[in-house]
Symmetry: D2
Subunit: 372 residues, 4 copies
């Protein structure tokens, strides 16, 4: 329903790009988790704008204020979850709403300006996309960072990602069978997370080229989770793929989601892509991992691998025609807000956060909240 997601952990995201602020309520997060606020801030920083000339000129500190659900533990002196709903607010500080005034009349192509007006009978906050803005991914990153920290400490699950594709430049893919938590942690820390060091330069060139031409470009993020126990999830509609996809599609600009080999499966033979079981010490593993760690909707114990396609930023400064809804005439539109030429560059931490939320939801379903 709308901006609420989850069964065992529930997030409810609120706010608008140019309103008072944005934030999230997380209900059901386990009590007693000692929060690594430094990690959370570093995750928010990964998403924050203004990091380089290749991202939007908007600068926001993205400092979360914690309204509820955490207390300083007298024993450790650390902020610790209480089990009650966690609410955080991030104030909007660098807004220039004048940029957006005429969007009701002249809606931007491929954006929510037109559909949002229909949906909300013209009452939607259209400034900067309002509640549809990519800025709403900041509270999702806060929530996801908390989940990642918890998953790591409680279940030894690690979640990381790299930019797999920008324009026509493709990075290497994960080696589906040998992804390690160390590798994922390093990717989390990288300023520009790719597997093949040569990809960075080529990708930045593509983005810079698009930027100079007042245009934008799309990309693909590849995300992995290691350490997930086998046997989690359910057949049919509560399968792991369905749960992850349902939240990934909640990230604005995602237009495709695939697991393991994904669409490449179409051209393969069963004999090529069946993941045979093997023994590795006492563990049962699969020799290959073309299914991305999920069989029959349930985890196999191998790394979970998912890719999300991110469309080019629809807001471009380059002139494009659109319809003036008042005059009924087509007219030229040049968008003068501050926009990323490639959203995919800032997307890795957002995709990881969505996957982390899905994984924690699945883990809480599997193990509950009560001591045994």
């Amino acid at each position: 329903m709308g901006s609420t997601w989850g069964n065992h952990i529930k997030i409810s995201i609120f706010g608008e790009s140019h309103g008072n602020g944005i934030g999230v309520v997380m209900d059901g997060f386990p009590a007693g988790h000692c929060c690594d606020m430094e990690f959370i801030r570093s995750e928010l920083a990964r998403r924050a704008p203004g990091q380089s000339s290749l991202t939007t000129g908007r600068r926001e500190g993205d400092q979360p204020e914690i309204l509820s659900g955490m207390l300083t533990d007298p024993a450790s002196g650390e902020l610790t979850t209480t089990g009650a709903p966690i609410c955080i607010v991030i104030r909007n500080t660098d807004t220039r709403s004048g940029d957006y005034e005429n969007l009701r009349t002249v809606p931007r192509p491929s954006h929510s300006d037109f559909t949002g007006q229909l949906r909300y009978q013209g009452y939607n906050d259209i400034r900067g996309g309002g509640h549809f803005s990519g800025r709403l991914t900041a509270p999702m990153v806060f929530a996801g960072a908390l989940c990642k920290d918890y998953l790591r400490k409680k279940y030894e699950i690690e979640i990381g990602s790299h930019i797999y594709q920008i324009g026509e430049v493709k990075d290497s893919t994960f080696d589906l069978t040998s992804i390690s938590d160390t590798q994922l942690k390093e990717l989390q820390k990288a300023a520009f997370p790719v597997l093949d060091p040569e990809s960075e330069g080529k990708m930045k060139e593509i983005v810079d080229h698009a930027r100079r031409e007042l245009d934008s470009v799309g990309g693909v993020i590849e995300c992995a989770a290691t350490g997930v126990a086998a046997g989690i999830g359910s057949p049919m509609f509560s399968n792991v793929e369905s749960r992850i996809a349902s939240i990934l599609y909640g990230v604005p600009a995602v237009k495709g989601v695939e697991f393991g080999l994904g669409f490449e499966m179409a051209e393969k033979r069963g004999s090529e892509v069946n993941d045979c079981y093997v023994k590795n010490g006492n563990n049962i593993e699969t020799r290959t991992n073309y299914n991305g760690g999920i069989a029959g909707g349930i985890t196999t114990g191998m790394p979970i691998v998912v890719r999300a396609a991110i469309k080019p930023t629809p807001s471009i400064s380059r002139g494009q025609t659109t319809l003036n809804l008042k005059t009924g005439q087509e007219e030229l539109l040049e968008i003068h807000g501050r926009h990323d030429p490639c959203i995919a560059m800032r997307a890795p931490v957002v995709i990881e956060s969505a996957v982390a939320l899905a994984m924690l939801d699945l883990c809480l379903e599997a193990w509950g909240y009560a001591p045994v």
Copy 2:
């Protein structure tokens, strides 16, 4: 949760491949719908096995028994929905359970045999995949056919699909802007739904080749919905893509879902794929439809287009190694059940059914159940 899906219409699917039967309860289906049982049966026939030498040898009449939720309307003499939950059962008639006995010990690669045992502590019905079987898509097709019939009569929404890819053979894609309800209806009736007539022969050759080599092959289904009003759906987690993806991933063997250009968006410039608004008579449309009828998570009024990647049937007769869980040794597995060499061939009606369920759920959310 498990085998239950939906908010405004809820389906609960039950049954196992080799048990007494399979079926579905649909809760929330509107009252007063005069059911076109002939259409429903034709849809079930599209999915049913045994149609040609290229599908499984299992033969099932797939005759649904209606247990509840419909009455013969005295006025029209037709079966009419009462508004109460609709339950149908399809009995299993052609089961040969002896085929599956050793799967607990020697799990089939890329199948649910191993993960299902972990999930259900070894108590799952493993015969023919049990509740994980593709056979469970039959009740989904019943439910979907009912929805398609209703969507057509009530909202003039039509849903159809074609086999876009099998192996390396690709059919044409839909012309995203000019899909018509007539075209979709014809595809529903086609024995082998493709857009380019030459695709059929090439695809069948691919499948037959795989079959002769005791192997299987994957594919992609492209599905479209026309007539969907603009302004349906919501931002963030209840967007149209998220709702459709959440049910599509409930179809066994789906490993990828994309909307409009999907993953191809990654290599495009914003200026290439932004869908500009234009006026067509009194309608506002988009000149292109690269976003597949959805912007900001909300329908634009253009055709909705989604593609689903289907992996090759994991059950193949060709020998493959797997692990004997008792001995801890790898051994050769040859699967002697009756399996499709290409599930994708029977998938179109299943994908359409999932999309129809999602569309009706979204429509009921938008318009409710009560007269104005």
Copy 3:
């Protein structure tokens, strides 16, 4: 939503009083539970009509056919849950639909005839109340019996009830602090479950008196659950009272629900009804249990006690005026179907079943499904 309930275990109830049959799908029931079918049948028999001259003359075997979700365990020879959705059907055998023909025109007072027609635009199955019928509690009893059996074996939780009130005759109330599982099991076996043996005769007299006057009478069921661990449930909307009440009000004819002292709390002082903590061996208990085992929405470890008020059967043979919707005139209505003079007499097992479903849902939320 409609006839679906639950988060961690989901039931979806279907069927109509005079249709082909009634039944339930239970999704999420734990795998590996060896079903005590004798117990389940005895529970269904407690609810079944035709037990004495004081219940409806309709006679139904209420034999459940198991369609899915159970297998005979080769080890024990017993029917065992597989973890897949359990579907059962109970066929309707003794229907006389002629009795109900004119109810669309002349709706029975305090029944669903009128409201059901409005809700479903006249398409509802009105025979015997259709989907609104009290007969739909039979599948709820099946589901509840399965839960009771599981709760007993897995968590040592026992659920039982007695008829607390019929007309003006009141039985003793449970001693809130000392309810035992033995006591509850005995109540389950009693043909007429009361605490004070003298209540039975007085209550039967009241019912018989009403029956002879072609009338009906209401009642109250008091239900308890013992063995529930402390610390289960959540504050606010997912508290134990809310969850139990939400399903109890799904039982037709329930018009009131109260916990512990309930409405009597209104006239008490805090000092009278506060439940002080005391130590009993190593256990922490409360000296009194006026809150019925729940404080702050969370279980205290003391017996949970809930009462449900059941209204008099609205269908009475005695003449009453109602409106003829066609003529717009009031007319005399004498209802000639076969109806219980006091539904409360058959309600104990239904109330217990609803409480059992709520308790299992809460337990699965607390402990999950996966081995630790």
Copy 4:
């Protein structure tokens, strides 16, 4: 789930009694509603503490800050909903946390101190009850006031209540058939809402008596909704009673809920309490309304009437024994926080708010969000 409620409108309540603040996110509230902030503030004032010597000495302005979901409409100059999630925060200003320090060791009887610690493994914020505090009803009142305002303007539904009982003093009950919106509006404005003017003095005396004896006393609130169209709701678990009860039990201290005659139904004959249909002009009504406006779980068009039992404030200054969890010894507890001697006095607006949320949820389900 936890502190989240609703299907078509979703509220997520957060905060603790002595933390930074409390608030609510409302997702799904219709766009374009011009908010009567004066009404909302007056509703918050009805609940706010510090109104008289008979309520807690804690003084809070309860000024809501609107973080999202509303914009000043340029046309009207009024705050108007945008359709995006509405988030408001009420800061805590008058907290004295020192009062609560020892509650972890010496839990207050009948409060959440003990159960909350078990549920959250001792990490819960125990100051002032933390997230369990009655103070969390303030954001519920904000949300409810918004719903009441909308229901009034859109559907002509009015919701009001009176204090029906305090201690042994009972006010008159609503005349179930003739409740008017005017009457309900007047009750909303009354400083002490009762039907019989003589009740006020008697009730206040009871409360003052309890207060002087350092004790507390319980009560009952009777709430009604007029103008609700017939035909809303569903059979079984989504019936109107179930939906209203599920949120009412989310109000701390509620221990009983009943509709229409409620528990009094138990002692009645069907012939006494069946609500016969009659024609009133063109309307179909019932002559009596013992079922409180609901038959078969669906609205009849008559006023909806529900009563909620409120237990005595568990926090009393009067000495009571409880257990010291560290020493294992019983000891005398005198609670020195600032507490109402009778929560019921401030409960009417809270109960109305819960009912308003339930009614809007039901209306949105019935009529959806989209223009026809």
